[in-house]
Symmetry: D3
């Protein structure tokens, strides 16, 4: 098992209980989550030494985020304390044809206003095996983008494998801004995760196939993966492929390309979905574990797609499953029989 570092924002998530609407609810369920924190949790669950790097206020809401990470075994040694607020996102969970809704209130968070001197990235990356970040972090502020650049440089100096989940978020930046920041960062990246839309918006690749309706043929991804590898020299490119039948019923599979072979995973039918937030992060966490521990990219991908399918059955952003549970599903047991 390795030392894995992720950098990003962890937010306070306030969600309405069950399927109640925002305007009906007299209480919010409280968890913490965010793309890179979620990846760290996955890695810790699989037995790695997972470190999450961020900045959080000294008050109890900041402490709550630290405690959520510690509880599930993520190392918080590199978290700087300070700043004013913990970013928030409000979540209303949909059902059937009513979609889930997210309202962001994350501007001015401690990590968005953090300074380079808040972190010693060479110390952080020392002896690390993997560094993971996502396109959300540079999008939250120019300061955060600079942190990502510094972290990537330190990772490369320390010989650490770097992965990115492109994760374009239209509420945080435009595609023009995204490309101006993201394209220069790709030179540090070994493993790139992102679907066609991310590739287009973050990196400027023109989509090849018609992806409307969410039922794209996985094969259609092959061309764009090849182009990505060609331009940026990624060792691996991977993507999930979601079919949205309704808010509670999705299809799910994934593809990976190692510059030579293109592999498509098994398909999962997820019904009902308990909580789909963090599904992509669970995939990234699975890819990291898979590529670090499996013999082939195919086995790595099957682990990752099973892990992320399982995430849809778990409340909260965090994918609270063990490697054994993921292996059991990847190995073919989706019957849901009671385990006594």
């Amino acid at each position: 098992m390795g030392k894995i570092v992720t950098l990003g924002e962890i937010m306070l998530r306030l969600s309405t209980p069950g399927n109640t609407r925002f305007i009906q609810s007299d209480s919010f369920d409280v968890v913490y989550g965010g793309g890179e924190a979620n990846v760290a949790i996955s890695c810790a669950n699989y037995g790695h030494d997972a470190y999450f790097v961020t900045k959080l206020p000294k008050h109890e809401i900041g402490q709550g985020a630290v405690n959520a990470l510690r509880k599930y075994g993520v190392k918080t040694d590199y978290i700087t304390r300070g700043g004013d607020r913990v970013g928030i996102y409000y979540l209303e969970t949909g059902a059937s044809m009513r979609p889930s809704k997210v309202i962001y209130d994350r501007a001015h968070s401690a990590i968005a206003e953090a300074e380079p001197e808040d972190f010693d990235f060479d110390a952080i990356m020392k002896n690390a095996d993997w560094f993971h970040w996502s396109g959300i972090t540079p999008a939250i502020s120019d300061k955060a983008a600079e942190l990502v650049r510094l972290a990537c440089e330190a990772a490369k100096r320390q010989g650490v494998t770097v992965s990115v989940d492109l994760n374009f978020r239209k509420k945080l930046w435009t595609k023009e801004k995204a490309q101006s920041i993201m394209r220069p960062l790709m030179k540090y990246v070994d493993v790139c995760i992102g679907n066609e839309e991310d590739a287009e918006l973050c990196l400027g690749f023109k989509p090849e196939a018609d992806v409307t309706g969410g039922k794209t043929d996985a094969e259609g991804y092959k061309g764009i993966f090849m182009a990505m590898v060609k331009e940026f020299g990624f060792k691996y490119v991977a993507s999930t492929l979601r079919e949205s039948f309704s808010a509670t019923h999705n299809g799910w599979k994934a593809m990976i390309y190692n510059g030579k072979d293109f592999y498509t995973s098994k398909h999962y039918d997820i019904d009902p979905i308990v909580d789909r937030v963090g599904g992509g992060d669970a995939f990234a966490g699975g890819i990291i574990h898979g590529l670090l521990t499996k013999a082939t990219q195919g086995e790595a991908l099957e682990f990752a797609v099973a892990a992320s399918a399982l995430k849809h059955t778990i409340n909260g952003d965090f994918n609270l499953v063990s490697a054994d549970e993921v292996e059991a599903l990847a190995g073919g047991d989706a019957s849901g029989r009671v385990q006594r």
Copy 2:
């Protein structure tokens, strides 16, 4: 946006949490609801000045009903305070092949014992654009039936469009009693909502097609709609058509007839159902909004059926959706993708 008046009973609804049975539950979830109140909520959500007319006790349970209406923007200026009790209905929510159960405890409610002098219907109907009531109101007591008659007369004096949702309830009256009260009231009605069973039980129309099994061909409704228009001169007749596969899985569509053209809506597959109570009322609210604001009866119906399909995904009697959300679904997006 117009002034819309509805008249009826609002009850205290006591439902068991989740899928627990009545005899298992140590608490009841509390909301308020009732056919015409639910329609008023829909209209308020779409931006209309919606007034709900009823009588409620002065105590806090009565106040709770007033507050529930105010919270969601319904005008309560015409609610008379007095009488002894708020009607109650107990609700147990089913799952799969176990049906939901309703136990009524609504006799002797304040509105069931209200007097004509409790309301000044000409003042209420002044400048109104629409008056809606349902077959439940005259069924709860002879006094309430008299209130409906007086309200209809005032509406007609003030030039207000009148709609009815026939809504036969076998626990409240027999079909003989229903017909003796309802048929004379039809002369005030412009828009009539009701399925074949309602048409038969409330108005005495013989069913044309075999509706057993709930899978009636929508076309089978055409004949009965024509007969209804012929006898009572309705401007529009409309009905929903529910397919009950299980307590948690229904099919849903609707039909409308304007005396000339017969229009059938899109079909929705609702799985899982969160709460189907108030689905019909959501349809009536959608029809009112649709006929007031849309160019064609087809657009009005598509709005109404999308609105009522969405209702099945929302807890409580009230259809807490915005016109934008309904338009998005009517416009074709049933994928349930997260809205960030």
Copy 3:
């Protein structure tokens, strides 16, 4: 209606609310349950005088188990009070491809350490019509196995019909131990419930058909049922047949054989499952009621399979349904329409 006696363990069940995982939950829902107690509840619901026989500590947790039984009408006159602890099982409810999990903590319970002199089985069986036990009881301890033997002998002395649900539990004993205890007990049994796996592990019958995948043809059971009747002289052999599509979606049917005719029930599609624990016990309860009150084994089986299908829609181990509700479903109404 008859006097029905069941003997076994009732445990404290601690389950996480909704679909939360064990490690996420700050509270446990509390119910009580156990194979034979669940059967007693079913019988009480159908109007029988159902007695549950066990030993429970004098403290409040033991009293909680007594109260749970009394609440639903089970007679607790033959429960001995004493011993140290109430057995516990922890339950985490799965969803989609994530299975439910059970953790047992039942060793050293009061009934596992009970002595023959704790019970006067002849008094208990006096005037009884039926005695039911399951393979779990002799598995929990040698002392409990001895209690079963004594109870069976008293039942036979008093002319009581005896049924068993084989219910092999691999965490409690090996198949060798199971067969050494269970086979000698079969001579007391009139009605034997168990699937192929139970027949193999508890009684040593070789499986006939390939049951992997859970989609066995019901007809494949015929041979094994015939062999069971031949060897042990059972009056009836019955089994349910579960298809596990996912943790929340199962198929469900059952078979019965009276030594002459083999009957296969209707098939139920259960989606979503609310709580599948106790489904088999609900079947046993239904078989007892069915064989006591119905004209044919087919009617008995249809009652039992409808009862157990309904169980999957109800929280907790207990099948809290009335005979009328079961009859309605067995009679064909699975539409889940609201009952007002």
Copy 4:
């Protein structure tokens, strides 16, 4: 231990959680309770065969009341099923200077509309040791008053000791009506419980001392008790004496008179009060147990006042304490030290 019969109404109690006000609450806690049912619970807890006699609808809300009684060991054999509704009371729990509030919605309940032929009082009273009723039962309807009279007559025919808790309720009747009904019933009564206000309003006794402020000297009761014994021949007269410092802090003691000696109990300071509803009923239950099992009226009274003091620390109408717990408090241990 004896057979104890009580007759009256059991209501569905809907209370707001914690200290929330009616208009704040989205859920109600559900318990069942009523004066005589509460007394039956006390008696069952102390080991008696306690029977509660009433009429309850056949639906699940009626069943809920039956189950609540059974759960705690009260015998429900004499409960008649039928009628329309279960009476309701809404409860909002106060704090400090804000009083608790009760809203009754109990008119037209099944027991208020029950007929004499619903009960076979001679069978009910057969072999009974005690029959208890309260002034609430004859107040709910003339039919219920007639039931009380019939029950009293049967009790006397069967040689059963009769107790009454006068319990005047000004929302149910006037003092004139109360006296016209209650005074003729006193001839059946052996043990009369009631404070000065009850004695005045139900029986027409003029108060002796000034009781304003709630700090009456217990001695002031002596005169009125003597008068009551003189007029009606009661064997015992008893009353509690509450000092209301605030909604959450009360003083509590009691007096008893056996026609010869007047005995005043210890004084309890109750802070905080968890739930004071049913405190008087707990006293009545304690008096019955005390007079049946103790050597002196003083011991009986100390048991009763300790039992009712404990009731103030327990949620719900029912006094869920064992005789051992009451004895421990009556014996002097009010330190509240943890019992391990």
Copy 5:
């Protein structure tokens, strides 16, 4: 009853349930509140037409604040919709010697960034009887301070009585900044509410007496009240006086001065405190109602102090009591006896 306008911020309040600490809680209770909104609620409860003026985002969290106001009868016609976020405060409720804690996250709220053109203050103040604001509003931002000035000027143009609650908040501004903003605004003020600390920090008055320990003699306030009236020409100056014995036990009284007579209210002992947030706002609301409807400043003050004492027994910021309930307490009934 009059038209009363208040201007300020309404925040989302996220509080831990019961007495749990921030770091223990998996859910937050959700209410909305803020100084001036709380005053508006009080006025609406007493029967006035109370308008709350603010700016709130268009999303559902903003709508939640609007709905909370509407539910309790506050008019929301003058609320402008727009901006990015709803201010938040986190609340942890203490007990005994552990204090309650508040964490503010209110920077950048919609009202803090509102522009003068968002409001038409002359229209708002037209026909108003009273305008109330507090020192919190100008403290949240310079823009908000400007809104207060504009509102005050419009109020004076329209002949509206103006009251202020000084309410110094050290986390929002320094005393130097406060005085530079607040002193010039005093010329618009008729009724000034504030304790010695507020008078010192907001207005620059030197404290007269030693207030350490919270047990100041009310008479000590007389001098400072005279000075305040002398300098700013207030018609009334009033203040509450809190004794903090513990987080759950406070003493509470108040003083008022009309430039001629100094009046001290009754003293209340509040134990236990349910929720003390909004106690001061409840006092301000009581003062407004009292001065508008009572004959003397003494009666007005007794109403206000009783109202605010009651607030301490109610969850949430809002003082959900009726004028009748306040009058009953002010009239002397603090016994907390159950109201049936």
Copy 6:
């Protein structure tokens, strides 16, 4: 800040919500706790590297205990995984004169059946500053007693200060057994915590003063402390002194003796108590922190008694307070004023 090691059992605590009784509750609140684990939490909160040593099963209930410790910063590196069960204690929280109740179900827990080879105590004690254990650990089993001995020996080899909290538990052992185990262990102990009853039952010291009623004069402890120091050579002896007025109202102070001076702390009046379990452990944690960081035994004791007083206001076994919060209370601010 130092490395602090504690050894013992952490149990699953199942408590009824609020003040409900065991037999009323349909859910249990879940926390984890145990004497030495609670001490570790206190030390972690004050900034020490606190290690808790125990054995826990590999399943999710065992993992829940690990996560609870990690969440609050306790190091779990020395926890061995294995064994069958997590010990349980059930807790019912009392009120007023009704005491809290604890039911233990801790026999056969993993730590009770742990072997010496499960732990490498020399590695554990290396570089440690303090080792703490309590009299509960040797009481749970002979195996656990042996672990304590081995741990003490390793501690002494490594030059670690050793403290004990005598903590006699009559349900776990007799005083004879206790003395035979505890007395030989005292030679390793530097700091001994225990009241007169513990000193008598665990160590065989005859009580000096009459402690009945819980109002012992602190001075009465001086003699016994001197005797304890004389016999066992403790560097410090300390004890708390609880006055139990009721389950919700206690007095609280403490004493310490360093072989020369006897110091008595301030007295705290705790009303209401939120949760008194763990109060003694919070005292031990405070003593350790105090003796490690304060100049005098008096300052150390004032820290410890303030810390443990605060514990009574916090739900759960763990004393979730910071050193700053304790210092504030020890410094004199018990007013409970809101901290904004």
